[in-house]
C-alpha cells in the first residue's frame, strides 16, 4: 500500500532548505509531518535532489528515534518513560494500552492504521507524572484506567466518523 507522494510538495520542502545536505533532518521532519511517516519512495528522489546516497539517508533516518519508516496510526499515544514517570508507574499504563489494542514493543500500530502506541523520552512534565500524549497533547497524572477510558472514547469517535 504505497502512499501517494506529491513530489511538488516534497520539492517545496527541499527548496525551502536550499537543498542543503545539512538540512536533511529538518527536511525529513517536514516530510514526516506531511505523511505521518517517511515513505520509502521519497528516498531516491531525496538522494538525487540533495546529493546524499540513499544509504546515508537511511542511516540518518534510522538513527533518530522520531523518524518512522512505517505508517503510523491516525491517533498516536506516547507514554512517557522518563525517570519521574517510571518511578510513578508509567509501565502499567503502557502495558494496558498495548493489551487493549493488541500491540507490543515490536508491533506499534494497529492494522487499521487507527492507533499507534509508543514510548517517548521525558517530556519535561515530570510534576504531573505519569503522563502520556495523544497526538501531541499532554494528559497528566495518568493511570491505566484513565488511559483505558481515553482510548475508549477515542475508539467511539473513530467509529462515529
Amino acid at each position: 500500500m504505497d502512499t501517494y507522494i506529491d513530489y511538488q510538495k516534497v520539492d517545496g520542502i527541499i527548496e525551502a532548505h536550499h537543498g542543503q545536505p545539512s538540512a536533511i533532518i529538518a527536511i525529513l521532519q517536514e516530510i514526516q509531518e506531511q505523511y505521518r511517516y517517511i515513505p520509502r519512495q521519497v528516498f531516491p528522489h531525496l538522494s538525487r535532489r540533495i546529493g546524499l546516497s540513499e544509504a546515508s539517508l537511511y542511516s540518518v533516518t534510522t538513527f533518530y528515534e522520531n523518524f518512522s519508516l512505517e505508517q503510523k496510526g491516525k491517533i498516536v499515544f506516547k507514554v512517557c518513560d522518563g525517570t519521574a514517570c517510571h518511578v510513578r508507574k508509567s509501565l502499567p499504563i503502557l502495558e494496558r494500552l498495548r493489551k487493549e489494542l493488541s500491540l507490543s514493543e515490536e508491533k506499534i500500530t494497529t492494522d487499521d492504521l487507527e492507533f499507534t502506541v509508543e514510548t517517548v523520552a521525558c517530556l519535561g512534565a515530570c510534576g504531573l507524572s505519569p503522563v502520556l500524549t495523544i497526538n501531541g497533547k499532554v494528559y497528566p497524572a495518568m493511570t491505566p484506567d484513565k488511559a483505558s477510558e481515553l482510548l475508549k472514547s477515542l475508539k467511539e469517535e473513530v467509529r462515529s466518523c
Binding site: 545539512s22 521525558c122 515530570c126
Partner: protein, 623 residues
Amino acid sequence: MLKNKQELRDLRERCQRAAQDEVKKILVCAGTGCVASGSLEVYERFQIEMQEKGIPCSVEFMSDVHGVGLKKSGCHGLCEMSVMLRIEPEGYIYTKVKPEDCAEILTETIQQGRHVERLAYTKNGLVCKTQDEIPFYKKQKRVVLEHCGRIDATSLLEYLSVGGYTAFEKALFDMDKEGIVREISESNLRGRGGGGFKTGQKWSQVSRQKENKKYVVCNGDEGDPGAFMDCSIMEGDPHRMLEGMMIAGLACGSDEAYIYVRAEYPLAVSRLKTAISQAEKYGILGDHILGSDFNFHIHINKGAGAFVCGEGSALTASIEGKRGMPRVKPPRTVEHGLFNKPTVLNNVETFANVPVIIDKGASYFLGIGPGNSPGTKAFSITGTIANTGLIEVPMGTTLQEVIFEVGGGLKGGSKFKAVQIGGPSGACLTEEHFNLPLDFDSLKKVGAMIGSGGLVVADENTCMVEIARFFMSFTQKESCGKCVPCREGTKRMLKILERIVAGDGRDGDIDLLLDLAGTITATALCGLGKTAPSPVISTIRSFRHEYEAHIYEKRCPAHSCEKLKRLSINPETCKGCSKCSKVCPVEAISGKVKTPFEINSEKCIRCGACVEACKFDAVTEGW
C-alpha cells in the same frame, strides 16, 4: 526597528513605565506542565468572563487597551500544583485553578482585591497567600528563573520592561571582546550542562581562534529523563537565553548561532521562534544590530529523538545533518566544532546566566554560592517527593535543605532512601550525604555529578537495583553504538541487571558488573559513555546488600521487583483441602490433608495456578 542605543533605551523606558501603569495583572502559567493541566483553557475562560463582566482586558502588553493585563507566563516551578497563576500587584499565587474558578477570581480578587483562600497553597493547614510565604520558595534564589512566571514569555516588550537586553547593550556599546571574556572569566561561571567546564576559558579559547567564521551553539537537548530546567527557561524566558548567546557572539567574534532543542519540547521551540522573530523585528538580531557593526543570526534546529545529541560533538554532527555520533577529540570543539569552525557550545542555563553577570558584574555573581562554583543552580526534583517541580538554589545548598526544606520532604511522609542526581550519568546520594553541599566539586569528590540537574528522590519502596537497571536500559537504548565499550558493555551490564531483578542473578555478577563498569568508564569514547556505569557503581557502593539479597536470597528488600514476588499459604485460612497441590505443575506444594499446606519457593515457578484453585483465598502473593 531600533536604529541605535538611544532608541533601545527609550523603548525600554516606555516599557518600564507601561509596566508600572499596569495596575492589575493575571499571569497564567503556560509552561508544559500547566498547559497539560489545562492552563490555556483557564486563560481563554478569563478572556470570556472579563468580556462578560465588562472588565477591560489587555492581552497584549502596551496595546491601546488599558485594563487588567492577562498574560501567559513561564513556569512557576511548583508543577504539582498546576494550573498555577499569579495576581499582581498583590502577588497572590493560586493553585490547581480550573476554568470554573475564573469568575470568582475576577469578582473577588480583581474587582475587590480579596484573597480567595480555597485556591491558595496550604501546607499543614497554613495558608500561603504569596510566593514568599510558600516554603517551597523560601530557600530558593531565583536568578536564572527570575522572570519565569512573572512576565509574559511571548513578549519582548515585557522582557524589556524588566531590564531586558541591558546587558547586551552594555556589552555591545561599552565593552570590548576582551572585556566581556574577562568579566565572564572572573565570574567563574561554570557550564551548567554537566562537566562544569569554565565558561570564560571556553570563550577565550574561541575568541583567540583566527578563523573568520565562528559559531555559537546552544545545547537545548536536555535529554536526562526527569530534568526540565532548560525547558522551563526556553519556555518561560526565551529572551534571556538569546541575550546570553548574543553576548557570547560579541565576545567570540561570531555572527551565527544555532539552538538545538529536543523534539519533545515543541512549546520551547515555538516560544524561541517567536522570541527570535520579535528580536529581528526590533533590530536586536540581524545585520548591523542597533546601528553597530555587529551582525548576529540565530537558527533553531529541532532534535529528532536521540539523547546522545546532548554530547557536544554529536550535537554539532546532528546540526550538520548527520547521525548524532560523538567523534574523537582532539580536535576540540573550540577549534573544530560546528561545520569544522571554532564553536562556543554552552547549554541553556549557562547562557541564561550570562546577562546578569554582564549587567551586575562578576562580583555580584561571585557573591552567590561557593567561590569555585558560584551562582545558582536550577534543579528539577521528581520521584517520591512532596513538592515535585523546578527549583533554583544557590550552589552549595545542602542535599538536606533541597530535599526537606524546598522539596517538602518525601511524599506521604515515607522514609528517604536515596536521591539519584545527574540522571543516567549520575550517581545516588544517601543519608550520609545530607550535609553535602550541591556544587560541582563537592559532588565530584563523592563520585557523583551535577549533570544537568535532575534529582530523583527514592523512598524505602524503591528498589535500587531496579533504579540502576532503569538507567542502564535508558543508556543502552540511547547509546549511539559507535564505540565498543558503550555499545557492547552497556548491553551486557543491562543483561546482568535484568537477570538480577528477575531473580536469576548469579554468584560473581556484582564483580562482573564492576569489571565492565571499570572498562567502560576508562575507555568509552564520549562523556555519556564514560559515565553510563555511574548509577550501577554508586548503587553497588551504597546498596550492595540489595544486590546480594536479589542474587543470593532471590529477595527484593524494597518489595518492588515483581519477579521476586513469592507465593505463600496462610496457615490461618488454609483448610488443607489439597486442591493447590494437585494443580501445581511443578510439585512445589506439599502437606497433609486437613492441615495447612506449604509452598517450596525454590521449586515454585509463580504460575499462579494455586492462587486460582484455592477457594479460601489462602494463597497470597508477597515478598
